[in-house]
């Protein structure tokens, strides 16, 4: 067997390699997405201590007996708090992404499928929302409604959907140009049925991949908003808020902000790698 000398050498990037090679790794990474979700849901069972009540001395460093990751400024177990924080952050991010996906997806779907002036109006509206400095709007909304995780999530959701609207609309436009939609029309399928059966399922892979990649962004955005004082209210746990609120301790008791900070990082990393892996798996299936 010859080597690959017949093959031209490539400049840095390879053209897309078949996903088959990374199949196992991809499955593991996608599995991580599920695992994190399980951890988030099972925080109650996994956490050794109450996340709200002080259970030990203040600012115990990691490795202290009974407190694997140490305790925070008021003596709460950081491991428990982080596990509950994962629950709050991950589920919040899922919620935002889901709302964005549903609302933005619906707008995108309708715009893409309808075309014409409906498309124009909806997309100009989307553009307008995209032009809004998102963080600012979230800040304004939270300021108006008062802080709190639910309000923050509402604020983020309002600026989050346009992105999905654009992506789904693009996907639907591409799908709608395919003959199968024309064929379905000729086959007598109603508009609703075409939307539901012949367009919507085609957007699912893109939507899922975009959404899972996006979870990490939302986790980070939540952290950023907590940094400027918007977000989960104390004493309820949330990773971003816990990191941001303890930031003044970074030099004196580094673990208090760093433990939840690393958890943010891990969640975001899992979302990123998992999203990529999901794309790989779905591409491989096509």
């Amino acid at each position: 067997m010859s080597d690959a000398a017949v093959v031209p050498r490539r400049f840095g990037v390879r053209s897309r390699t078949p996903a088959v090679h990374n199949l196992t790794l991809n499955r593991v990474l996608v599995g991580l997405l599920g695992l994190v979700t399980l951890v988030a849901l099972g925080a109650r069972l996994l956490a050794p201590d109450d996340p709200i009540q002080p259970v030990g001395d203040f600012n115990l460093p990691p490795g202290s007996p009974g407190h694997l990751l140490g305790t925070d400024m008021i003596g709460r177990d950081l491991l428990s708090r982080t596990l509950w924080g994962i629950q709050a952050s991950w589920l919040s991010a899922l919620a935002v992404v889901l709302v964005g996906l549903l609302f933005g997806g619906l707008i995108g779907l309708v715009a893409g499928a309808a075309g014409g002036w409906v498309d124009n109006v909806l997309m100009r509206l989307t553009d307008l929302f995209l032009a809004l400095p998102g963080v600012l709007v979230a800040i304004a909304i939270v300021a108006a409604l008062g802080p709190g995780l639910v309000h923050t999530l509402l604020g983020i959701s309002i600026v989050w959907w346009p992105y999905y609207a654009r992506i789904i609309r693009g996907e639907v436009r591409a799908l709608a140009a395919r003959p199968h939609v024309e064929a379905a029309r000729l086959a007598g399928a109603s508009r609703l049925r075409i939307l539901r059966r012949h367009l919507l399922p085609g957007t699912v892979p893109t939507a899922i991949v975009t959404a899972s990649l996006d979870i990490g962004n939302v986790v980070l955005l939540l952290a950023g908003l907590s940094f400027i004082g918007l977000g989960q209210l104390a004493p309820a746990p949330e990773l971003g808020a816990d990191t941001a609120r303890a930031l003044t301790q970074l030099l004196a008791q580094w673990w208090v902000p760093v433990v939840p900070g690393i958890a943010v990082m891990l969640l975001s990393l899992v979302a990123n790698l998992g999203g990529d892996a999901l794309r790989g798996l779905l591409d491989g299936r096509r």
Partner: protein, 566 residues
Amino acid sequence: MIASVDDLHVSLRGNPVLRGVSLSVRPGEILGLVGESGSGKSVLALTLMGLLPPDAHPQVTGTVEVAGVDMMHGSAAAHRGVRRRELGVIFQDPMTSLNPTMRIGRQITEVTRDTDRAVQLLEHVGVADAAVRLRVYPHELSGGLRQRVMTAIAVAGRPSLIIADEPTTALDVTVQAQVLSLLRDLRDEYGCSVLFITHDLAVAAQITDRIGVLYAGRLAELGPTRELLAHPTHPYTAGLLRSRLSLTTPRGRELPTLPAEAGPRGPGCAYHTRCPLAVDRCATEQPPLVGDEHQRACWRDISDMPDGTSAAEPGELGPAVEGSAVVRLHNIRCDFKLRNGWRRAGTLKALDGVDLEVAPGEAVSIVGESGSGKSTLLRVIAGLIPPTGGTREVTGGTQMVFQDAGSSLTPWLTIGELLRERLLPLKLSRAEQDQRVRDALTKIGLPATVATARPRQLSGGQRQRVALARATIVPPAVLLCDEPTSALDASLAASVLNLIRQLRADLGMAVVFVTHDLAVARLMGDRIVVMTGGHIAETGPADDLVSHPQADYTKTLLAAVPEIAI
């Protein structure tokens, strides 16, 4: 020898594609390489160029030599040198094969490094206003011009070998004829060799000196063009020739087809499951390619080949039913507003006053080149496009079969779901629906189990059959066919055409069949409508129109149809 391969084996992604090909291109000759899709002809071309896609993880054995350079081993720079100095390449799709973001001139001067020469070359390949055209981008040119530019690039480096991989497949017949003659002229002028790859024997017949017939990664037969076509010595070649649709193929009979490949490929001749001559030995032992100037790889003697025509039964071409027309178009006009971003950039008159009537049960073929408005007309009949002007009356339902069956079936729905969708208005019970689906599948010659499959699990031919089943599960008054066979290999195409004729006869529906191929148009239509530039050039009974064309345009079209003149 300009180029030669010896005992070449290539596997891509672990699947053998070429399985021992030995072939050489002689100086100054045009060697045709003919085979159906998947036969490995394009892979052979890529191997010669040293451009097999690395992500397919190619495994290659044997020898490959171009202009004395080993294209399998050796440095990438050496291979590049060969490509630059010795090879010119023309690919099938000039739209995608030219860099869309680079001006034509730059793409030529990349090879010539000289603008004047680029102008010369363009003039040479028949591009008018060459100096001006240097400044344009590929998308601003027509398909024919693009392929001429491709050709200019191919000859720009004064290569000793031009590899033309299906260079005319995407082109209209009239343009195809021009490109073929251009290639021949260039060969004569530059004295280079041409490796001409095509799936169409007739096209190969127009231009080549020798023809190699490739089947499943092996050469089935190789010989001088005239001799090979006149006296094919391999049953596959013979079958191909027989199943070819031409302007003289009998209209009234079922079209001859090759049997489909059945069962896995064994160690023997890959063709044996389809071969009328096959004996036990064929299944177990690979026949070698033997002979001198005319070589063949078959254990049997061709004289034992049964006469194909005798096997075909008369087709039941139902005559048109008298009565009021099912389709009545009067002075149909259809304008497309061209948009350039947000700006109106002009109007395209896709249809410009078309009158057409189709009687119940009548078969009408609409023939024309790309841009003639034939597909638009079909869509107007189907009601997919509202006409800008004129009146459209269609009684009874219409259904349509598209060119690319793969993309006309919703990928994530099962065949069963797709078929049932048409039954929805009938409000049948689930059991009745299932029964209708089974019946429909049986009717098109597919097992009922296909109902649970998704389109990507089917072959191209099967998908087109499913598309037909969907169109006819509730019989329409008119079946509209938009080049349903142009993406299929000849034999498969013939069987789909047979199926359409069968269904038409069974269901008594009218058929409007759009095609760019006059031979197919003649076979499928009682009447042929010739379109050009958005209007009807000529219309008439199929045989009359082909034998006594009235309009100049029809004559041009007929003249351009490649025929094997033996």
